[in-house]
């Protein structure tokens, strides 16, 4: 028997079935531990929201694990109270009316701009692009006060009205535009990266076929950019849906148009100890973003990494 000429198989046998590499016990236990740790807070909210008020206040939520089938341990009453009595149903609708347009508008505007930056030639293209992306770092907090003043008073320069009072304060249009402004830099940046990397041959051949820019953009670029658009859409939707600050300042803490996060904050303020209501309200506010994320998460990863994933 001759000596093996290739030493590789030996080396592979020595290292390959290592515990780490193929997902041995160490990997599985570590993953399970982190996942458990990460799920505890959410689990606490879910359980508390399903327990009657008296139980919530007399025993910790983790005690349900001791005897989960005790009578009177579970109830849906908290959700009914939150939706009807506390107006969370209306607030939910308002959140929709804010979040959906505040996602669609910046994506549309940003993709038009990203298309122009990547496939059109015009004076000042580079400077404009750098300026747009550079604005990504303006803290949102810095912009709120001037915008509020803009909405309520317009702009007067040396006693001269240079910008009219648009009466946008406490309107949906006002908050859509504000969220659009805040979301545009990141949206333009992400979409530019994607749209500029599309093969130029497609666009050239469409031009030869006589398509104008609008047609190329709408019929070709948009369908091709779906992963990037969806990724940003998820991101923006979750951000707008979960936003408290902008909604609080521009839509107000009370009134017809208040959104979920504001209603939630009011609940903390007015009755900080009503855990059964607070948790069910919190869970209502989480439900939609969770649904959106879980149904679109494939796009999220694919779009953010723009084709770098091997599969």
């Amino acid at each position: 028997m001759s000596a093996p000429a290739i030493p590789i198989p030996e080396g592979v046998v020595a290292h390959a079935p290592g515990e780490l590499r193929r997902g041995g016990w160490f990997v599985r236990i570590t993953i399970a531990a982190i996942v458990l740790l990460w799920s505890i807070p959410t689990l606490g909210v879910l359980i508390t929201s399903l327990r009657p008020e008296s139980r919530v206040n007399t025993s910790g939520w983790w005690t349900v694990f001791a005897n989960p089938f005790r009578t009177g341990e579970w109830t849906l009453e908290n959700y009914r109270l939150a939706i009807e009595a506390q107006g969370f149903g209306n607030a939910f609708l308002n959140s929709l009316a804010v979040a959906i347009p505040a996602t669609v508008i910046p994506i549309t505007i940003a993709s038009f701009a990203a298309y122009a930056f990547s496939w059109m030639e015009f004076r000042g293209r580079r400077i404009m692009f750098v300026a747009v992306v550079g604005l990504m770092v303006v803290p949102l907090q810095m912009a709120l006060i001037p915008i509020l003043r803009l909405f309520t008073q317009g702009v007067t320069l040396f006693g001269l009205r240079v910008f009219p009072d648009l009466e946008l304060n406490r309107t949906f249009l006002g908050i859509w535009l504000a969220h659009t402004g805040f979301g545009l830099p990141l949206a333009t940046y992400l979409l530019y990266n994607y749209i500029a990397s599309l093969p130029s041959s497609i666009i050239e051949s469409a031009k030869i076929d006589g398509a104008d820019h609008f047609t190329i953009f709408w019929r070709l670029i948009i369908p091709l950019s779906v992963p990037a658009l969806a990724a940003f859409a998820i991101f923006q939707f979750m951000w707008v849906w979960n936003d408290l600050l902008v909604a609080y300042v521009l839509l107000g803490g009370a009134g017809e148009n208040r959104v979920l996060t504001v209603a939630l904050r009011n609940l903390v303020g007015s009755r900080g100890v009503n855990w059964h209501l607070l948790t069910s309200a919190a869970f209502i506010s989480m439900s939609l973003p969770l649904l959106v994320f879980f149904s679109l998460q494939k796009y999220f990863v694919r779009g953010l990494t723009a084709g770098a994933v091997k599969g």
């Binding site: 590499r21 997902g23 990997v27 993953i31 996942v35 990460w38 807070p41 959410t42 606490g44 909210v45 910790g60 939520w61 609708l93 009316a97 347009p101 669609v104 505007i109 038009f112 701009a113 298309y115 122009a116 930056f117 059109m120 030639e121 404009m128 750098v130 300026a131 992306v133 604005l135 770092v137 303006v138 803290p139 810095m142 912009a143 006060i145 001037p146 702009v155 949906f172 249009l173 402004g181 006589g210 820019h213 609008f214 953009f217 979750m238 936003d243 408290l244 600050l245 017809e256 996060t261 903390v268 855990w275 607070l278 948790t279 989480m286 879980f294 990863v301 953010l304 770098a308 091997k310």
Partner: protein, 384 residues
């Protein structure tokens, strides 16, 4: 650069004579002009009617929300479409040099209104008094760098900047690396880590009350998990959120909990993009798993790590909700941060000047990050 006083040359411009030219000129026909103008007028009337409904206090919520959705989603497309049609009405000489500005214009206008104008306005406000009437020079900035709570806020924010990205990226990277080796259940495990990302800061603060809550003896049983554990161990319950300086760390944990999922998802995608051959080759050469991780995986995905870290640093710098929503006073607990101070001075203490000065300081602190980001962008452009 293209100039407008000579015929525009570009792949999209029709040839000077013959063939395609006629079809392009049809765009400017009177019939088309009438159509575009009518469509614009109809759209305007529809917009005004819709705004009427949205402001009508008697309209049902459901109606208002439906109108808002149609208006918001359809409106923006209609704006671009009408503008594009309008450009077609202009003389073909200027048409194609004007069109890019129609595509970019709305973005620039909104950015000027919502980001550029506020920056200048805030700088001006920061040099005026509490009601923005008289100029006070640098008084507000003197306040920012001498006030006891402000100094504390600056120190705390520095802590957030370092610890939150550090913890978030390390846990995210470790989790992504390990999850990559799972045979089954990778998607489920990742989704559960990502889940807190979908929760609002306000929701997260409530969520964590169920962990940190404290009730003194005689005020009901402790419903916070940590104190439940303390009691289980036979210890006295602790006022976790008043335990200086550790309460800062406990609040940072909330943000780490929320943002690790983002870091993990992006890093995991980068790890999966590393070619198998490289890692296999290293293993065959006898590299240990730790060596593979530190010498091959980390250097390969370094650009992604940098992007994720930048994102988290900027977020940590702007953190406000987590501290703001806490039931007890941030000043007494020593948990103040810069952005929270700013909101408090602007809205609760009604001092425009000081609030604006804090905002300017926050902005200046982000500028190095911006320059660095832009430089990185230019390098990327050079590679392309």
């Amino acid at each position: 650069m293209r100039t407008t006083d000579q015929p525009v040359a570009g792949p999209e411009t029709p040839a000077p004579e013959g063939g395609p030219r006629t079809s392009a000129d049809d765009r400017a026909s009177p019939l088309r002009a009438v159509t575009v103008l009518t469509a614009t007028a109809v759209a305007l009337v529809a917009f005004l009617l819709a705004f009427g409904v949205m402001r009508d206090p008697r309209a049902s919520r459901f109606m208002v929300v439906s109108v808002a959705l149609v208006l918001g989603v359809g409106g923006v497309f209609l704006v671009f479409w009408t503008m594009d049609q309008a450009v077609d009405l202009i003389s073909p000489r200027f048409r194609e040099s004007l069109r890019p500005y129609v595509f970019v214009g709305p973005a620039l206008v909104l950015l000027a209104m919502f980001l550029v104008y506020p920056v200048f306005n805030t700088v001006i406000l920061s040099l005026k008094d509490n009601i923005s009437r008289d100029w006070v020079g640098l008084d507000n900035y003197r306040f920012v760098f001498t006030d006891r709570h402000m100094l504390r806020a600056i120190r705390n924010t520095a802590g957030w900047l370092v610890l939150v990205p550090l913890l978030g990226v390390s846990i995210g990277l470790a989790f992504a690396t390990l999850a990559d080796r799972l045979r089954r259940g990778e998607a489920v495990a990742k989704s559960l880590i990502f889940l807190p990302m979908a929760i609002s800061f306000a929701g997260a603060s409530i969520t964590w009350q169920l962990i940190y809550n404290y009730r003194p003896a005689g005020f009901g049983s402790n419903i916070g998990l940590l104190n439940g554990i303390m009691i289980g161990l036979g210890q006295e319950p602790v006022r976790w959120l008043e335990l200086q300086p550790w309460n800062n760390l406990l609040l940072m944990v909330i943000m780490v909990w929320m943002q690790t999922g983002f870091a993990m998802v992006v890093l995991s995608a980068a790890i999966k993009a590393i070619p198998d051959e490289i890692i296999e080759a290293a293993r065959i050469d006898g590299a240990s798993e730790l060596q593979v991780f530190w010498r091959i995986m980390v250097p390969t995905i370094l650009p992604t790590i940098v992007v994720v870290t930048t994102y988290m640093v900027i977020n940590a710098m702007k953190v406000f909700d987590i501290v703001f929503v806490q039931p007890s006073s941030a000043e007494n607990n020593g948990t103040v941060v810069i952005a929270e101070r700013m909101i408090r001075w602007f809205f609760l203490l009604q001092h425009n000047g000081r609030g604006a000065a804090i905002a300017v300081v926050l902005f200046v602190a982000v500028i190095p990050m911006m320059i660095w980001n832009l430089r990185r962008f230019r390098e990327q452009e050079a590679i392309r």
